[in-house]
């Protein structure tokens, strides 16, 4: 992704993204960030803006921001008030990557991606469900990212790629996706089946950006169903220790 804009905005973004290697199939997108003092001052984070799509163009509008992402042309433009924070600019790039990945057959997924015995496990759930906790109790296994990973179809199954949007451990950048695990805090540690409908709903709810737009939802539901035909999904009941890996190794290892 090639980003252009004021040096004060671009430099920290480049530093944060320097260690990240995108999925090889992704195409370079042209992202332009423009400071515009004529816009009203930001009244809140860009994160709170809801994306809207029409004819393949996604718009993000909030006080202090006007963003447009075109999947068809591979371009993205954000006009932002000079007081925009690095977090706002990073969020815009996250939106661009989510749309770019989806347009190319992949998906950005809200999950902790952990590589265990060279297999990728996606621990997912709503905020507070325990993604960071799962990553913590997986030391020293590599963590592709403790918040967002990129899922990409492969010749057999799906691959899970690191992203620059959260905390990472180690330098592994990709792993074959072995299982999806919906985190549920509990006193006992065990894997339980999820019904296909429940799994589909949970996965869509954890697909950022695109799940807020009815234009993309039908195709996204179909894509998750395709993934679920080759990757198992379970509810993982776990407590705050590393015993969940014993259960996972016994049943999936």
């Amino acid at each position: 992704m090639r980003a252009r804009g004021p040096a004060a905005w671009i430099a920290p973004l480049r530093a944060a993204w320097a260690v990240w290697q995108p999925a090889p199939e992704s195409i370079p997108w042209d992202v332009r960030l423009t400071a515009d003092a004529s816009l009203p001052e930001p009244q809140g984070p860009l994160f709170e803006a809801i994306p809207h799509s029409q004819d393949g163009v996604c718009t993000l509008v909030a006080s202090g921001f006007e963003g447009k992402v075109s999947a068809a042309s591979g371009t993205a433009l954000l006009r932002a008030h000079p007081q925009a924070s690095p977090g706002d600019l990073g969020y815009f790039l996250r939106v661009v990557l989510a749309i770019q990945a989806f347009a190319r057959g992949g998906m950005l997924f809200h999950t902790a991606g952990i590589v265990h015995r060279e297999q990728g496990y996606a621990f997912f759930g709503v905020s507070g469900s325990g993604k960071t906790t799962a990553a913590h109790f997986s030391t020293p296994d590599p963590v592709l990212n403790d918040d967002l990973v990129l899922l990409w179809p492969a010749a057999t199954g799906w691959q899970m790629y690191a992203t620059p949007f959260g905390k990472r451990r180690g330098d592994v950048r990709v792993a074959a996706l072995r299982a999806l695990l919906r985190l549920l805090k509990d006193q006992d540690v065990f894997l339980a089946p999820l019904s296909p409908g429940r799994a589909l709903g949970e996965l869509v709810a954890n697909t950022p950006v695109l799940s807020a737009d009815s234009l993309w939802l039908p195709e996204m539901l179909a894509r998750w169903e395709t993934l679920l035909s080759v990757v198992p999904v379970y509810a993982l009941h776990f407590r705050r220790d590393a015993t969940f890996w014993e259960v996972i190794d016994a049943e999936l290892g």
Partner: protein, 91 residues
């Protein structure tokens, strides 16, 4: 609290997908979803802005040949849950 003479309609932006006997209903912008069994899916389908809750329950009781009291309880429970999640609204 719903009344039997309430007329229910589905939210315009609902996206649904049938999956192995369940209906996944996603509410864009709210970031929420609900999974319905056959009865719940039929309640949603019949909530077309013209039928009262009473008419929906009577239709389901006739279709499933089930006990009216049982169906009434199920329909009220499903309808209430769908209203609370924003999938249905009262006209």
């Amino acid at each position: 609290m719903l009344n039997w003479d309430d007329v229910l309609a589905a939210a315009l932006d609902l996206v649904t997908r049938e999956s192995d006997g369940e209906l996944v209903v996603v509410l864009p912008e709210k970031g929420k979803f609900v999974v319905l069994n056959a009865t719940g899916a039929r309640v949603l389908q019949l909530s077309d802005g013209t039928r009262t809750l009473r008419e929906i329950a009577d239709t389901l009781a006739a279709e499933f040949g089930a006990d009216q009291t049982q169906v009434d309880g199920d329909v009220l429970r499903f309808a209430q849950a769908l209203v609370e999640r924003g999938a249905l609204h009262v006209r």
